[in-house]
Amino acid sequence: MREPEGMTTDPEELQEEEKDKKKRRWLLLLLMLLLLLLACVCWLAFRYARQPEPLPEMLPVDVNYPPHYLFSIYGVDRPVGVAVSPDGERIYVAETGGERLVKIFDREGNPLGSFAPPHTTPAQRSPVYLATDHLGRVFVADRLQNVVFVYDEDGVFLDAILGPELSLSEYVAEQVDGFQPEDMFVFNWFEGVYYRPASPEEELAEAAETAGPEEGARLLPIVDIAKWGPLGVRFDGEGRLLLTNTSGDHYVCVVPVEALGATPWRDFNPIPVIFGTAGQGDGQFLFPNTAVIDSQGRFFVTDGNNGRVTVWDREGNFLFYFGRGTGEGAISLPRGAYVDERDRLYVVDAVSQQVKVYDVSGEEVGFLFAFGEWGLDDGQFNYPNDIALDETGRLYIADRENSRIQVWSY
């Protein structure tokens, strides 16, 4: 038998061999350890990649800590509104240019789809602010249609809010004997309400898409929704819907969560909380853009043309305002707003081209910092209009004239 090369029987060499073996074993062990470490790192990196941002509890304790720019989502035309789904996986964007659609993107900014009120043309609609509720439904205020349209998470039309105490399905049910939840109904301010009883072979969503004056659909009498012109849309932690109204009078309307169960809302009888009137004084608004709430239950309303944020208590009694004038923390043209879980209020200031952040955890409001400046580069704004936050510390900002959504992060 031929001995394998390099083998020896010499005792000294054997000792050497033993040493070598030990060394090799050590090396092997080290390698295994390294591999394990690598696996660990990989696994962590994978987890990190799945969740690119630190979780909220890993945020620095100091609230006075500005976020940084990550990337931008393009493929939107002059966006004015932005919202994130409750799980943070979907970004909804309302555009005023082009076809005036609501577009859906994933967290990385890949397009997932788009939608618009069924049976409307681009010249008949103008989606502005939007928000998602805890069920993932999307609520979109349309300034030309004068209503809030409600869609499921994929943009399938569900119902609409035609007034503080009137839903579209409720209106249809009043007009039609034997209204069924599956029946097709669509609203177009310029044309009227179309209704068609469900027929078994037709899908509701499909029907809504193609509905119109054509065969089978009935045109119901005009709904009188004068003086209803919703603009701002937000939800608070309790699931209440916070709307601002700018047609006729200017006020905030809070729809209780009980009214917002499964659609269609055939019995839409909320007892809304309504506060504010049009004007420049205390307790008044000129074009209130959005209403948000802090952990104390106080309302913060961006009072657009008055250049300030007004603060109201739980019951809708006026407390005070801030941001008027010049100097640190002063606001020019406040638009979209958001409060994060650490009671920081974010206000998009369209004219000073910044997002301004305030500490609203105490009784008084303290200015923390502002970020952004005018420009066309990454991290610069050109008439920003809205902001939404998710739970991973991401901020989405509608950068209107740059036709993009900027993604920032802590």
Partner: protein
């Protein structure tokens, strides 16, 4: 240096503007008092430097932040040509401003993107990209550049307020302009019927002088504008129509509007007051912002802007037929 100038201008302008200009429906234009900080709504509230002291490059972008289709700062949505709120007024028709109109009544100025629910087919271009105006000190059908650069909203309107109807600039393209408002009440709001008097023609003429033909009769007499100004040449019936004359029809010798009924639709054109008379003016046939009227055949081959709708209120030569009924 710039800052010093700015502060000085603020004081000066604020002082000038306190001289009793009424602001319209909560608009930020004019009506300033020495103590208000209304400037911040359009100019940066803090001391950061910005181009031209304004907050961004384009005037149009600023105006559209409020006057755009989102209506998030004004009811007059000039993109779509709609008034976005309900108006309370009895009587009147939208051709002359407010009436008892629901939301989405058409604006008097027309629209820059859409008008009456359809995409515009021609408009004044407000984005600061065009300077050449038809008949601007040159013959009809020819163009010359405006005195102060490209056309923007601020070429026609003064965002700080003015004594003119709809805050039209008091100096347009280097020419002094005065456009008086005619209405039911003094208030500048959208709940009363209000419109411009016949001086609106002079406003258009500040940039399109050659089209301001006021002399009676046709043919050879139309070489000048009838005011003894430049000899522009050209034939009135192809290039320009006489304006600033009264129009009478039927038993009504002094109508506020003229109209024809065709089928089930009534087509009306507004006239503009001058004293107690109502006159034919540029805005009788044209919308100042933009139109969605469509042109075909001969109507699409006008000698000026190649084949577009030339801001006309009605399809084809519909405007002619309203007065010259055959």
């Amino acid at each position: 240096m710039k800052k010093v100038f700015f502060v000085a201008s603020i004081v000066l302008i604020a002082a000038l503007l306190t001289a009793g200009l009424a602001s319209a429906n909560g608009g930020p234009h004019g009506g300033y008092t020495a103590t208000t900080d209304a400037c911040a709504g359009c100019h940066r509230a803090h001391t950061a430097t910005g181009p031209n002291l304004l907050t961004a490059s384009s005037t149009y972008d600023l105006c559209i932040s409020c006057h755009g289709s989102t209506g998030s700062g004004a009811n007059t949505n000039v993109d779509d040509g709609y008034y976005l709120s309900t108006r309370d007024d009895s009587g009147g028709d939208w051709n002359h401003g407010a009436a008892n109109t629901p939301d989405n009544a058409p604006l008097l100025g027309g629209g820059f993107v859409n008008y009456k629910g359809a995409a515009v087919t021609s408009s004044h271009v407000p984005s600061g990209t065009v300077a050449a105006a038809w008949g601007n000190g040159v013959a009809r059908g020819a163009t010359a550049n405006l005195a102060d650069g490209n056309l923007t909203c601020a070429s026609c309107h003064d965002p700080h307020g003015s004594n003119n109807y709809r805050i039209i600039n008091e100096t347009v393209n280097g020419t002094a302009v005065s456009v008086t408002q005619v209405d039911e009440g003094a208030a500048k709001d959208y709940n009363t019927e209000q419109w411009a008097d016949s001086s609106i023609s002079q406003f258009c003429a500040a940039c399109h002088g050659a089209y301001h033909v006021t002399r009676a009769g046709s043919g050879t007499d139309n070489s000048d504008d009838g005011l003894g100004n430049t000899d522009y040449g050209g034939d009135i019936s192809t290039f320009a129509h006489r304006v600033d004359m009264s129009y009478s029809y039927g038993g009504n010798s002094n109508p506020e509007t003229v109209g024809v009924i065709s089928g089930t639709t009534t087509y009306t054109l507004p006239l503009a007051a001058s004293g107690t008379n109502n006159l034919v003016v540029c805005t009788t046939c044209h919308l100042p912002h933009g139109t969605s009227a469509t042109m075909s055949g001969v109507a699409a081959s006008n000698p000026g802007p190649a084949g577009d709708s030339a801001l006309l209120r009605l399809d084809n030569r519909g405007v002619c037929e309203v007065c010259h009924q055959k």
